[in-house]
Every structure is written in structure tokens, then in C-alpha cells.
């Protein structure tokens, strides 16, 4: 005889389910309890320990990722800052360079002006300074275009000079520019005086960058190295402005053949001083304006 519980038969299929629920509940309780129980090392609960242990790799990975991202962001920020700072420094450097260039140019111009002004004490009736815009040398014709004209009071016949000596004279005047004939032009001439002996002659350009001193008698004691200056006898150039130095003296039939090296380096002219024209030229200009001969 088999003793059976009808109720148990009825509940049979559901019996294991209850066990599972029980096991689950118990397990959960144990878990909760254990979670609340302090760990052996008293460094927190077991749950916390477990969670921390379980989370450690993830936390480490995420943290590493975070650090990498932060580091990358910082690097990017630093790079961007460095780039922007670099740009700013470059701009500043360019600005400083420009400023330095301008200051150098101003200093150079000031020293040139001072040099010209220092010379102006020895040059009479200074009208002003002018830049040399163009120097031309062709077939003996040597001329220069200067950046001063009638607007600056320049008239045809104004002598031009630099600190070293006489350069030439203005021959054509425009409103803001003028053309000047250089002393080394093959057609140019000026009254000249040998500074040491006081003898008078005529200096002529040879069209090749040199000068000849003519009309000096063979009895003269002129020698190489003597200073030649303007004599003021030609009605164009003022007196006492250096022209050049004697380089060689040869004997001719009546007069000495004297070669003169110009005091001015004509190929390197950058600025000139414009002097007032001689009274003879001013009279001539006024006469031309008034119509009298």
C-alpha cells in the first residue's frame, strides 16, 4: 500500500519551483547579510569588496580611458595654446622686426640728414635736400633726376652738392622732380681753384667719371693730392666747395694736363643738397620773367 498525499500530487509539479524560490530567497538573504557583514580585514563590507573587485578592471579601464582622453584634451589644448601662442609670438616678432627695420631706416636717414646738415654749414644758401631718383650715364652724358622741383623752390641753375663736394647743377625743373647735369658730364665745366696755390682754372668732366683741370700754366707747382675746389667765378657754383683731388699732372705745350678724381662717388649718390642759385642766374630769371633783356 502506497501512502500518497493528494495535495502533494496536486502540488507536485510546482514543488521544485518553491525550492527554487526558497533557494533564491535564501541566497539573496545570505547575500544581503554577507554584504552587511564586515570583511576580514575590516576594510569595508564584502559586497563593497566584491563590487569593488568586480568593478576594478572596468574602473581602471574607464579611468585609464578618461585619463587618456583628458591627457589628449590637455595635449590638444596645449597644442592649440602653443599654436596660438606661436602665432601671436610670430606676429609680435614680425611687428618687432618691422619696427626694427623702420627704426634702422629712420636712423640711417637721420644719420644721412645729419651728415648732409653738417655739410650744409660749409655750403652756402642751402635750399634743402632731395633724393636722387635716377642716375644716367650714356655716351658721355651724365645726368641725375632728383626728387625736388619748383614746388620746393628749385630753379634751373641751382647747384647741387653733397657733404663730400660738388655734384652738378639743375638744368630742367619740373613741379616735383628736376634733372641735373653732373659735373662729370662731358659737357659740364666749372670754375676751379687749386686750394694750396690759389691758382684758377676750369674743371671739365670727361664723360667717363673723371675730371680734367684746364688752364693751369706750366709754371704752377700743383702736385698729385692737391685739393681742387670751386672758385665761384663761373656765375653758377658757389666758392669753396670741394671738387676733387689731383691724381696726375702732365706737361702740355702751354698748360698742364691735370687729371682730377672727383670728391663725390657719383655712382652711389642717394641724396643731394640743393643750393640757392647764384645772383647772376636769379637776375637772369627775373629778367626773363619781366621781359627785359
Amino acid at each position: 500500500m502506497r501512502l500518497t498525499n493528494p495535495r502533494a500530487e496536486v502540488l507536485g509539479p510546482r514543488r521544485h519551483r518553491g525550492e527554487l524560490v526558497l533557494a533564491s530567497v535564501l541566497g539573496f538573504c545570505i547575500l544581503i547579510l554577507s554584504a552587511q557583514a564586515p570583511a576580514r580585514s575590516r576594510r569595508g563590507s564584502v559586497l563593497q569588496s566584491w563590487i569593488l573587485s568586480a568593478a576594478a578592471p572596468l574602473a581602471s579601464a574607464v579611468s585609464a580611458l578618461s585619463r587618456t582622453v583628458s591627457s589628449g584634451a590637455e595635449s590638444l589644448q596645449s597644442l592649440w595654446q602653443a599654436q596660438s601662442e606661436n602665432e601671436r609670438l610670430k606676429r609680435e616678432l614680425a611687428g618687432k622686426n618691422r619696427e626694427l627695420f623702420e627704426l634702422r631706416a629712420q636712423a640711417s636717414q637721420r644719420s644721412e640728414d645729419e651728415r648732409l646738415l653738417a655739410a650744409s654749414a660749409a655750403l652756402p644758401n642751402l635750399r634743402g635736400a632731395a633724393a636722387v631718383l635716377l642716375v644716367e650715364n650714356r655716351a658721355g652724358f651724365q645726368s641725375a633726376v632728383i626728387g625736388a622741383g619748383s614746388a620746393q623752390g628749385v630753379v634751373a641753375g641751382c647747384p647741387i652738392a653733397v657733404a663730400e663736394g660738388l655734384v652738378g647743377r639743375v638744368v630742367t625743373v619740373g613741379h616735383a622732380v628736376s634733372r641735373a647735369q653732373l659735373l662729370v658730364d662731358a659737357s659740364a665745366a666749372a670754375g676751379a681753384r687749386i686750394s694750396r696755390t690759389g691758382e684758377l682754372g676750369v674743371v671739365r668732366g670727361d664723360g667717363r667719371g673723371g675730371l680734367h683741370l684746364n688752364n693751369i700754366p706750366t709754371t704752377s707747382t700743383v702736385a698729385a693730392g692737391d685739393l681742387i675746389e670751386s672758385a665761384g667765378i663761373d656765375g653758377i657754383y658757389p666758392r669753396g666747395v670741394p671738387i676733387g683731388r689731383v691724381t696726375s699732372v702732365g706737361r702740355g705745350s702751354l698748360f698742364l694736363e691735370i687729371r682730377v678724381a672727383p670728391a663725390v662717388r657719383f655712382s652711389q649718390l642717394t641724396d643731394v643738397l640743393v643750393l640757392a642759385p647764384s645772383p647772376a642766374i636769379v637776375d637772369g630769371l627775373e629778367g626773363a620773367r619781366s621781359g627785359r633783356p
Partner: protein, 167 residues
């Protein structure tokens, strides 16, 4: 050569003449840019344009540098014709020939101006000075370099360079 290019050439020649002529180092490489411009127009073989361009640049040069306007215009118009003739009739070319022709033209320009100055202004004739010879050398060399640059196969060179980079 088209008229627009000619106008541009004349403006560039004038600007360069001032640029070099206003420099304190003007004697280092004294190229006659006006003659170069004339030569470049004459290189096309058009007599009329070469002569007209020579005349115009000569007048500009005279206005800037000489008492008489027309001496350089005369010389450069004649040289424009001569150079155009050379470019058409004479069977030689290349940078050396162009450079030599321009150097000779520079000296002939000086000769014509000197003779005209002597006749019209009673100025002493100054020929073949050191500056004139150096200007002829500079003008000839510059013209030769320009001709070499004109003849250089820039397109092929650029294509070869591009292909070399792609490999």
C-alpha cells in the same frame, strides 16, 4: 606681341629703370631696361611695333636724362628695326645670339647718341667707356637669360616633376 602686353612691358621697363637707377648700387648691374623692352618686342618680328616701342621708350629716356628729346628715341627706333630684322631674316637664335645682339645694340645705342650729341649739342664724343661696356654686358646677359627662360620647356619640366613626385 599684343598691345596690352606692350603697354605692360613699357610700364615695367620704366619702373625697373627707376628702381635700379635710384639705388646706390646702380652700377653693379646697369641693365638698359628700355633696350630690353625694345628687343623683346622686336623678337616678335613686327617691324612697326618694334620701331614704335623703341621710339616711345627712347622718348621716355630722353625726357628723363637728356637736354634734347629724340636722341635715344632715334637710336632705339633704329635698333628696334634692326633687331626685328635680325629676328626674321637671320638664321640664328638662342640665348647667346640674343645676348650678343643686345650687347651690340647697347653699344650702337651709345654710338648713335654720341654722334647726335656731337652734331646737335657740340658735346664731346665719349665712346666705349667702362660704364658703357659694363652696361652692354649686363644688358646682353640679362637678355640672354630672358631668352633662355622663354625657350625653356617649362610645361614638360613641370610635368616630369609632377610625375616624379607621384612615383
Amino acid at each position: 606681341m599684343k598691345l596690352g602686353r606692350i603697354a605692360l612691358l613699357l610700364a615695367a621697363a620704366t619702373a625697373l629703370q627707376f628702381f635700379v637707377g635710384g639705388s646706390p648700387h646702380r652700377a653693379v648691374w646697369p641693365v638698359d631696361f628700355f633696350l630690353l623692352a625694345t628687343g623683346m618686342v622686336a623678337r616678335g618680328g613686327d617691324f612697326v611695333r618694334a620701331v614704335l616701342v623703341g621710339g616711345v621708350v627712347g622718348i621716355v629716356e630722353d625726357a628723363l636724362n637728356h637736354d634734347l628729346i629724340g636722341m635715344n628715341a632715334f637710336a632705339k627706333a633704329a635698333l628696334g628695326y634692326g633687331l626685328a630684322f635680325l629676328s626674321i631674316r637671320v638664321m640664328f637664335g638662342g640665348p647667346w645670339a640674343v645676348g650678343g645682339a643686345l650687347a651690340a645694340a647697347s653699344l650702337v645705342n651709345d654710338l648713335i647718341v654720341a654722334v647726335l650729341g656731337s652734331l646737335l649739342l657740340q658735346a664731346p664724343i665719349v665712346l666705349f667707356s667702362r660704364e658703357a661696356l659694363w652696361r652692354a654686358v649686363a644688358t646682353g646677359a640679362s637678355g640672354g637669360v630672358l631668352e633662355a627662360a622663354r625657350l625653356f620647356p617649362w610645361r614638360e619640366w613641370w610635368e616630369r616633376r609632377r610625375l616624379r613626385r607621384l612615383r
